[in-house]
């Protein structure tokens, strides 16, 4: 049978993949996508916990699902703002590569 641990491990791996993308990729759009992966990893573990902690009425713990609902909304807003900053930067610099974004330095 599938245990809680299986879900948690899958979620952890997804989180790590997302984080690896943030660290490795130089393309800002892909970095943003990787961020989405990280947020959704958290969603997965929240939903797994929600299902795991059944309420006395015999239903999943809906608090966590509401949490997920909020996270999805916030994540969408965040990605929109991120992309807007990206567009603003692209207008100024003609690049989406993080390597070219280093005017501010020591």
């Amino acid at each position: 049978m599938i245990t809680l641990g299986d879900y948690l491990i899958v979620s952890g791996i997804l989180f790590a993949i997302g984080f690896a993308g943030v660290m490795l990729r130089r393309n800002l759009i892909i970095i943003l996508m990787s961020l989405e992966l990280m947020l959704n990893a958290a969603n997965l573990s929240l939903v797994a916990f929600s299902r795991f902690r059944v309420s006395p009425a015999g239903l999943p713990n809906y608090n966590a699902q509401v949490f997920v609902f909020f996270i999805i909304t916030v994540a969408a807003a965040e990605v929109a703002v991120g992309l807007a900053i990206l567009v603003a930067l692209f207008r100024a610099r003609q690049t989406t590569d993080v390597k070219d974004i280093s005017e501010l330095k020591f």
């Binding site: 948690l8 989180f15 997302g18 984080f19 943030v22 800002l28 970095i31 961020l35 990280m38 947020l39 990893a41 958290a42 969603n43 573990s45 929240l46 797994a48 916990f49 795991f52 902690r53 713990n61 608090n63 966590a64 509401v66 949490f67 909020f70 996270i71 916030v74 807003a77 965040e78 703002v81 991120g82 900053i85 990206l86 603003a88 930067l89 100024a92 610099r93 974004i101 280093s102 005017e103 501010l104 330095k105 020591f106």
Partner: protein, 511 residues
Amino acid sequence: MSYLELLKLASTEAVVVVTALVVLAIGLTTRREATGVTVATAQGDQNVGGSSSARTNAICSFIAALGLAIAIGTALMLPRKATLFSGMLVITPLTSLFKIICMALAFFAVLLTKSEKSLRHPGEYLAILLLATVGLMLLVSSEELLMIFIGLELLGLSLYVMVAFDKTDVRSAEAGLKYFLFGSTSSAFTLFGISLIYGMSGITSLAAISEKLATVSVQPLLAVGIVMTLIGFAFKIAAAPFHLWAPDAYQGAPIPSAAFIASGSKVASFVVLGKIVLVGFAPLHGDAAWHAMVAGWSPVLAALAALSILVGNFVALAQSNLRRLLAYSAVAHAGYTLIGLVAGDREGFSAALFYTTTYAITLVGAFGVVALVRRETAGDDFSNFSGLISRSPMLAGCMSIFMLSLAGIPPLAGFFGKFYLFSVALRADAGHGLLWLVAVALFGSLISLYYYLIVLKVIFVDEPSLAIASSPDHLSPDLLQRIAVAVLAAVVLFLGLMPDALAAGLLAAMP
């Protein structure tokens, strides 16, 4: 829970939101006129557009300041104690006090905005500033993880926009991007941490979590959850090694944004960080004593503190731009403040809050001076400050008060803050276990003296460079802003002489 009651208890937030909407509306309507004029006269568009935007700026700033003043009034009338939705909105003397402090800091940021000429859309900017203030207030006043997360995100999104706001400067967008990437990565970590904590305790209200954790045995998974949750706050307070965005954001952002990040955002983050660790994770305190470390959050915070103090102070030595210098010193000061939380208990918390509040006031003032100097000399490198004493003795005097307070020279607020913090840390542990941390902090502040004195040397001793001396609009007195800076300097001095005024209030307001 009726909406009326909710409105009553959240009246402060409501007033600020409404003000933000009004300011936004004014900003949108007045700009349309301006663009009409611009199309009509191609030649004079810079002038007309500029003056119109300056007028909009003045009106919007006035309304924003007024709204904040009203909101401060409503905050004073809040009930002494109330809890809504199992901790999502908590009203205690402490939260009311910090709501007021946050709004006061926002008030000064609004004043800074007034003279910022490069902002093309002052209405929108101020609206976002006010909404960010709402985020601060929610952070301060909630004791529930979901609400804290949403507060963090509201604050974060507003700040990302505020940092990237200045489109005339490419560095602004770059700073915004860096801030955004770090912010959203760390909030992803925080979220993952929260999900683990939820999984262990089955609940998101801090008080209930604390009860739950007291009965459960400590699991490594929970420790990972706590560390990941703390990362989001370590980012917000710019503790090393999560500080790398700070120098770029401080330097590239429009000055009011930078001042707001350094002050309001930091104060609120410390309040909520303190609540999380001292209320929510209280059973997992651990021990940060040098020889007897016990796992928990306090050794984690102690490590962050020590690293921040060392990195912040050493790297600050090498700076030649005042805003970057302030950023690195902010890293170091975040480290000092964390010491109070490491010490734990209410005294440690109140010492940390006292320190961070005085620090925020000092930094807003310093940024005020930077803004004025930048207006006159179009830059904020050290060379722009050289010989400030001969150009404006008042600004030079205020700046020296701010710098000396940051360096911890009595009788300024920074001195008492440090003294309070260190003494609490030393008393917290009967075996002087935190002595090592205090020693690191003292060593760090010894180093910091050097670069603060360099700033003073630049201001008082160096000859003003020629290009600046002959700058055309060098006489453009912005009286309001100068008064604001002077008031802040007076507050720093006052809090140094009469720290009781704030410290006793803080301690009394502690739960």
